[in-house]
Amino acid sequence: MLPSAVVSLWVALVILPVVPLVIWSAAFSWRWPDLLPTAWSGRAWRYVFSPTTQVRAGLIGSSTVALLTMMLALAIGTPAGIAVGRMAFRGKRAIELLLLAPFIVPGLIVTMGIQIVFIHLRLADTMQGVVFAHLMPALPYVIISVAGVATNVGVQVEEQARSLGATSWQTFIHITLPLLRPGLAVGGLFAFLVSWSQYTSTLIIGGGKVQTLPLLVYAFTRSGDNPIAAALALLFVAPAVVALALASRTLRVRQSVVGGRL
């Protein structure tokens, strides 16, 4: 039961901005002060789904980079998150603050620095370079969400598994990972979305060699082709909405099954 104020806010912030995009994507001409376009066209959507345009490259580029970023962030962030969530060690507060750094320091500034390093490492203008650049803002989301769950899972359940005859690897695979799943789902989703919506770092590190959807959207916006920019923007938003809906569903199911007793 959502309070009506929350629903109104949700509509105002999420649904309303999408409405003009939907109209634009099907418009032929839409000039001020007309309320609706005077002429309609399917040109934008035909362009978006045409195999001969750059859209397919952008879609593949975005998906590849985002998936790689997500997997790397999970691989690196999970052990780190467990450590932050469970262990007491010297400098833990400092590390927790450092994890927030990507939220505080403007991405452009970091990217300029990274670019210089990546040129030396021959990572500039490559997909690996772009993935590494995306990893930096994505990683904290995984670490923080895994740390939150790891605190609750506790060490005793692992000790129990060891004592029952599981090796440390078996314990990790059969006990720790499944119990961390809510944290992994949230962290992975955020890592994917952070990478998916990167613009500046893709442009600078990718140097135009790595094509992604945000770059295309921006290109069409600048060239003034609003219908195609709008159609691309909708395509760009779709996976985020789907992923979010999916994640919130699985999380809710898991919680009711676990019953809050760990």
């Binding site: 005793q156 359940v157 000790e159 129990q160 598994a161 060891r162 004592s163 029952l164 005859g165 599981a166 090796t167 440390s168 078996q170 059969h174 006990i175 499944p178 119990l179 799943r181 099954v257 676990v258 019953g259 809050g260 007793r261 760990l262």
Partner: protein
């Protein structure tokens, strides 16, 4: 059945010929310059159930975790059936821990929880299913295989945890306060279940508890720990009747303790001179103890008069505290509830020599091992 329950030793040898002895030899663990466990040596005979008893923080759980291999001892050695397990990973020891909280795997159902240990050993599916079924039957949870953990009551969860440990056929079973999270009624039920399963299976078992009732009803021998040191390792009646340290005496309710010096069979105390039953060597420093229920009202051996300062009604009995006129020392007595006693009343009590116990300083067990 009575015979089975009273003579655990007999059943044990019949039930499990492969049971191993557990030896702790000079075991020690230091945390921040303080010994949580210090120079602890004791032997658990094959198939026996021994309790580590003591107040919280006495080192009993630390000891259990060292046996399980979850922490490494700083000194000493642990042997299963004569073989040292130093440096052996917990999963290879065959020492299964049952924690105070059931610590079930909430993402798995009951059958997967119970079968976990067997699955990790890669036993065939059919074997696992069969043994899980049998184990659930043993803990009266037959047919619950497909239940989710969240659907179980706390008593059922603890029984699943027990079945999960037993199904792996552990060499040593380690129980860390398995009853203290349960409601009192469930606790009795679970305690009987533990006693029955131990009688049936005869697995060498160490039970950690702070509840002396629990230790006395379940364990053949009790190792009493205080401040990380083994105070006494003996049967329940011995601990109850012949404590060797003040800590044991206090824990088992021997509340009347008088510092004394002993010369020729007479102890000089604040209560007055106490004639001791047996010829005792002279000691400049000792403690004389007597249980409240063994003190008699009225003139007799070792008598003194005092003024009642407190009385507490306990149902069948009342506990009366008085302060002696000579020496102003407190004495606690248990008397029938219907005995008319008033606060400030003058009462004479006598301490029968046969119930006086001499506690010698430094009497703590050092390398006590069971005889026979």
């Amino acid at each position: 059945m009575m015979a089975v329950l009273t003579d655990k030793r007999l059943v044990r040898t019949n039930a499990n010929a492969s049971a191993v002895a557990l030896d702790l030899i000079g075991l020690g663990k230091e945390y921040d310059g303080r010994w949580a466990v210090e120079n602890l040596s004791l032997t658990v005979p094959p198939g026996a159930l021994v309790a580590l008893l003591g107040p919280s923080g006495c080192g009993k759980t630390t000891t259990l975790r060292m046996i399980a291999g979850l922490i490494e001892p700083d000194t000493g050695d642990i042997r299963f059936g004569g073989d040292s397990v130093a440096g052996v990973q917990p999963e290879r020891r065959g020492a299964v821990m049952v924690f105070q909280q059931p610590t079930l795997f909430s993402h798995l159902d009951v059958a997967a929880n119970v079968g976990f240990g067997l699955r990790m050993r890669r036993e065939p599916r059919g074997v696992i299913a069969e043994r899980v079924r049998a184990a659930l039957g043993q803990v009266q949870l037959a047919g619950m295989e497909r239940r989710r953990i969240g659907q179980l009551s706390s008593g059922q969860q603890q029984r699943v945890a027990l079945a999960r440990a037993l199904v792996t056929d552990p060499r040593v079973l380690l129980l860390d306060e398995p009853l203290s999270n349960l409601d009192p009624s469930l606790r009795d039920e679970m305690r009987d279940l533990l006693a029955r399963l131990h009688a049936e299976q005869g697995i060498t078992t160490v039970l950690v508890t702070h509840d002396r009732q629990e230790a006395m009803t379940l364990a053949e021998r009790i190792a009493f720990l205080s401040d990380g040191r083994l105070q006494q390792y003996a049967t329940a009646p011995e601990l109850y009747e012949r404590p060797v340290t003040v800590a044991v005496a206090q824990f088992f309710g021997m509340v009347n303790l008088f510092p004394a010096s002993i010369v020729e069979g007479v102890a000089e105390t604040a209560f007055g001179p106490l004639h001791l039953p047996d010829p005792t060597r002279n000691l400049s420093e000792a403690v004389i103890g007597i249980r409240p229920e063994h003190i008699a009202i009225g003139y007799g051996e070792n008598a003194a008069t005092g003024c009642v300062t407190n009385r507490t009604y306990l149902g069948q009995q009342q506990r009366v505290t008085l302060r002696t006129s000579h020496g102003h020392t407190e004495v606690t007595v248990l008397v029938p509830a219907d005995m008319p006693i008033l606060i400030n009343q003058e009462v004479t009590v006598s301490l029968p020599a046969e119930w006086l116990r001499v506690i010698v300083p430094g009497g703590a067990a050092t390398s006590d091992t069971p005889r026979g």
